[in-house]
C-alpha cells in the first residue's frame, strides 16, 4: 500500500501542478471579480497540498516496500486486449457502420473470453448485433452511423 500511495500521490501532485499553472494562465481575477481560473486555482492548490500530505503519510509509514504484482490475477492481459478492441471499435464505427463494426466487436470480445466455441461466438455475435440494432436504432430511435456501405 505504501508504494501505491506514494505513486498515486505523486501523480495527483503532477495533475494539480498542471491545473494550477493553467489556472494562472486563464486568469484568476480578483476577489471582487473572480476570473475563469479562480475555482480551479483554489481546487488545484488544495489538491496539491493534500497530495503532498498523502505522500508524506505514506513515506513515514513503517511498512516495508515489497515488490508485489500490481495486477491481481494472471488474467489482466485480457483487459489489455479488451481495451484495444474497444478503441478500435470507437475508431471503426463511423467508417464501417454500426452493423459491421458491432459484429466485429462482439466476435472479438466473445473470442477473448471464450476461445473454444467458434460457432457459439459467431451465432452470438450476429444475434447480439441484429437485436441491439433493432431495439436501439429502430425502436428507441438512436442514430447509429451508416458507414461506407450504407448500413
Amino acid at each position: 500500500m505504501k508504494a501505491l500511495d506514494q505513486t498515486s500521490s505523486l501523480f495527483w501532485l503532477l495533475v494539480s501542478l498542471s491545473v494550477f499553472i493553467e489556472s494562472l494562465r486563464l486568469g484568476i481575477g480578483t476577489l471582487h471579480n473572480p476570473g475563469r481560473g479562480f475555482l480551479t486555482f483554489g481546487a488545484s492548490g488544495i489538491l496539491g497540498i493534500l497530495s503532498l500530505i498523502l505522500f508524506l503519510q505514506a513515506s513515514l509509514k513503517k511498512e516495508e516496500v515489497k515488490a508485489q504484482p500490481f495486477f491481481a490475477g494472471p488474467l489482466w492481459k485480457r483487459i489489455l486486449l479488451v481495451l484495444i478492441v474497444l478503441i478500435l471499435y470507437s475508431r471503426l464505427m463511423p467508417v464501417l457502420g454500426y452493423l459491421i463494426s458491432t459484429f466485429l466487436l462482439m466476435t472479438s470480445l466473445f473470442l477473448i473470453l471464450e476461445r473454444k466455441k467458434i460457432l457459439f461466438v459467431f451465432v452470438s455475435s450476429i444475434l447480439t448485433t441484429v437485436v441491439t440494432y433493432f431495439v436501439f436504432s429502430k425502436w428507441l430511435n438512436c442514430q447509429f452511423p451508416d458507414g461506407l456501405f450504407g448500413f
Partner: protein, 501 residues
C-alpha cells in the same frame, strides 16, 4: 390544492399507460441490474437516459426512480442466494441472508427482503412528501452564499462518509471539481481546459464519465479474475415469511426504514451506509446477538429495509434544494437538466406533475416490485446462471451504445474508455468514484454560487459567515473535518471500516 388532492393528482399522472409501462420497465431493469454484476444503477440509468429523450420528463424520472429502487431489491437476491452482493448496498445482507439460504430458508429470506423493501419504501415515500415541500419553501429564501455553503457541506459529508480514507475522498472531490470546470466558462463564455478539442467545449459528458468510472472499470476488475462462480443450490419455497419470522423482523423493518430514510437524506453513500448502521443497531438491540451471522432474519430485514428507505430519502435534497446527494441522484439531476427542468426549490411548484407523479410512482413501483418480483424469483435465479463470458461483452456493448447515443459522437466513446481505465486504476490505488462524480456535478453550481457571492459582497468572504444558514452549514462542515483529528472519532471510524470488512 390540498395534500390529498395533490396525491390524487399524482396518481392520475402515474396511472397514464405510458407511465405505468415506464415504472414497470424501470423496476424490472433495476432488479436485473441489481442481480447482475458489472453495470450498477448509475450505469443502467445512463444507458437508458438517451432512449427517453422523446418521452416526457415525468415518464423519464419515473423510469429512473424505478431502476433505482429496483436495484436495491435485486441486489438482495444475489446476496442471499450466491453470497455475492449485486450492489454495495446489499453487502451486509450476505452475512445472514446467505446463512439462511444454507439452512434451507432462502424463501423466507427473500420474502422478508421483499416485504421489508416494500414497507420501507412506503414509509420513505411518506417522509418524502412531508419533508420535501417545507424544505423547498424554506430554500426559496436561500441566496448564492447559502447554496455555496450547503454544497460545500454536502461534499464534506460525502468525503466523511466515504468508504476509504477521507484524505483520498477529498482529493477525488477536488478532481471532480476540476473535471466539472472543463468547457465554456458560464460567466465569460470563454473555453478552459479544452486543449483545443472542440468536443470538450460542452464539457465532459456525465454519461460517458459515469459509465467509464462505474461500468467499464467494474468489468475490468472482474476480467482480471476467474469468470466462474458457484450458485448455492437450494430449493426456494415458502416465500411468505412465517408468523414467527414476522414477529422477529417487524421492528427491524421499522428501525431500518427510519435509519435508511434519515441517512438517505445526507449526502454520501446513503443507501450503503444505512445498511451497515441498520445491521449494527439490530445486533445491538437483539436479545441474542450471537444469532447474527448465523442466519438471523433481522439481519436481512433491517438492512434491506434501510437501503430502500434511503433510496426514497435521497430524493429530498435533489427535489427540494436541487443538490444531488449521491452519484445516482447526479444522474437524476442531469436527466432533469437534459429535459429542460431546473432542479431546485421551484421544481415542485413549477412542475407539480413531475413531483406528485414521481411520488405516486414510488408507491406503484414498490407494489410492482412485490407483485412482479416475488413470483419471478426463479427467473432471477436463472439470470444469475448466465455465464460471465456471455454477460460481459453484452454489458460492454450496452455501455458503448449508451455513451454514443447521447450526442451521436464517437468522442464520447473515447471519453468513456479513458475513464474506464481511470476508474480501474482508481480502484487499484484505493480511490472512490462517488465523491468525484458528485463534485463533478456540483462543481459548476458551486463555482457560480461562489462567484456570485463574491460579487454581492464585493470580494469579502465574510458573507459566508455573516449569513446564519451559510455560517451554520460551513461551521458544521468544519467541525466534521476537525472531528477526524480527534482520536475518539478516528477509533470509531476504524471500527466502522473493520466492521465493513
Amino acid at each position: 390544492m390540498g395534500f390529498f388532492d395533490n396525491i390524487l393528482y399524482g396518481f392520475q399522472v402515474t396511472f397514464q399507460p405510458i407511465n405505468i409501462l415506464f415504472c414497470a420497465i424501470g423496476v424490472l431493469v433495476g432488479t436485473l441490474v441489481g442481480v447482475l454484476p458489472g453495470i450498477g444503477p448509475a450505469g443502467a440509468m445512463a444507458l437508458l437516459l438517451p432512449a427517453t429523450f422523446r418521452f416526457s420528463p415525468t415518464s423519464t424520472i419515473i423510469l429512473l426512480a424505478g431502476i433505482y429502487y429496483g436495484v436495491q431489491y435485486g441486489g438482495s437476491t444475489t446476496s442471499i442466494l450466491v453470497n455475492i452482493p449485486g450492489e454495495a448496498s446489499s453487502v451486509i445482507t450476505c452475512i445472514d441472508g446467505y446463512q439462511m439460504a444454507r439452512q434451507g430458508r432462502a424463501g423466507p429470506a427473500l420474502g422478508i427482503a421483499a416485504w421489508g423493501s416494500f414497507i420501507a419504501g412506503t414509509i420513505a415515500n411518506l417522509g418524502l412528501m412531508l419533508v420535501a415541500i417545507p424544505l423547498a419553501r424554506a430554500a426559496l429564501s436561500f441566496g448564492p452564499p447559502e447554496y455555496f455553503a450547503l454544497m460545500c457541506t454536502g461534499l464534506i459529508i460525502v468525503t466523511y462518509l466515504a468508504q476509504g480514507s477521507i484524505l483520498r475522498a477529498l482529493m477525488m472531490a477536488l478532481v471532480g471539481i476540476i473535471l466539472g470546470s472543463i468547457g465554456l466558462d458560464v460567466i465569460t463564455g470563454l473555453p478552459r481546459f479544452t486543449f483545443g478539442i472542440n468536443e470538450l467545449t460542452d464539457g465532459v459528458g456525465i454519461i460517458p464519465l459515469v459509465m467509464g468510472l462505474f461500468g467499464i472499470s467494474e468489468i475490468f476488475v472482474n476480467l482480471e479474475e476467474s469468470l466462474e462462480r458457484e450458485i448455492f443450490k437450494t430449493r426456494i419455497k415458502n416465500l411468505w415469511p412465517s408468523l414467527k419470522d414476522w414477529a422477529q423482523a417487524k421492528w427491524a423493518i421499522v428501525r431500518g426504514s427510519i435509519i435508511g430514510f434519515l441517512l438517505g437524506i445526507l449526502p454520501g453513500g446513503g443507501a450503503v451506509i444505512s445498511t451497515f448502521v441498520a445491521y449494527a443497531v439490530e445486533k445491538k438491540v437483539a436479545k441474542q446477538p450471537e444469532r447474527f451471522g448465523k442466519g438471523a432474519i433481522e439481519g436481512v430485514a433491517g438492512p434491506e429495509s434501510a437501503n430502500n428507505a434511503a433510496a426514497g430519502g435521497s430524493l429530498i435534497p435533489l427535489l427540494s434544494l436541487g443538490i444531488p446527494p449521491n452519484p445516482i441522484m447526479a444522474i437524476f439531476f442531469s436527466a432533469l437538466m437534459i429535459h429542460g427542468i431546473q432542479p431546485g426549490p421551484l421544481l415542485i411548484k413549477q412542475n407539480p406533475d413531475l413531483f406528485w407523479g414521481l411520488v405516486a410512482s414510488l408507491y406503484m413501483g414498490n407494489a410492482l416490485l412485490l407483485i412482479l418480483n416475488l413470483p419471478l424469483i426463479s427467473m432471477w435465479v436463472k439470470v444469475l446462471k448466465i455465464p460471465y463470458k456471455l454477460l460481459f461483452p453484452l454489458i460492454l456493448l450496452f455501455c458503448l451504445i449508451g455513451a454514443y447515443s447521447l450526442n451521436n459522437v464517437t468522442f464520447d466513446l473515447y471519453v468513456m474508455i479513458f475513464f474506464g481505465v481511470v476508474g480501474w486504476m482508481m480502484r487499484k490505488f484505493g480511490y472512490e468514484g462517488a465523491p468525484l462524480i458528485l463534485a463533478y456535478v456540483l462543481g459548476p453550481m458551486l463555482e457560480n454560487a461562489l462567484r456570485q457571492s463574491l460579487l454581492i459582497s464585493q470580494g469579502s468572504f465574510m458573507i459566508f459567515i455573516t449569513r446564519p444558514i451559510s455560517a451554520m452549514a460551513l461551521g458544521f462542515a468544519f467541525l466534521l473535518l476537525l472531528s477526524n483529528l480527534f482520536p475518539y472519532f478516528k477509533r470509531q471510524r476504524k471500527k466502522y471500516e473493520e466492521f465493513k470488512e
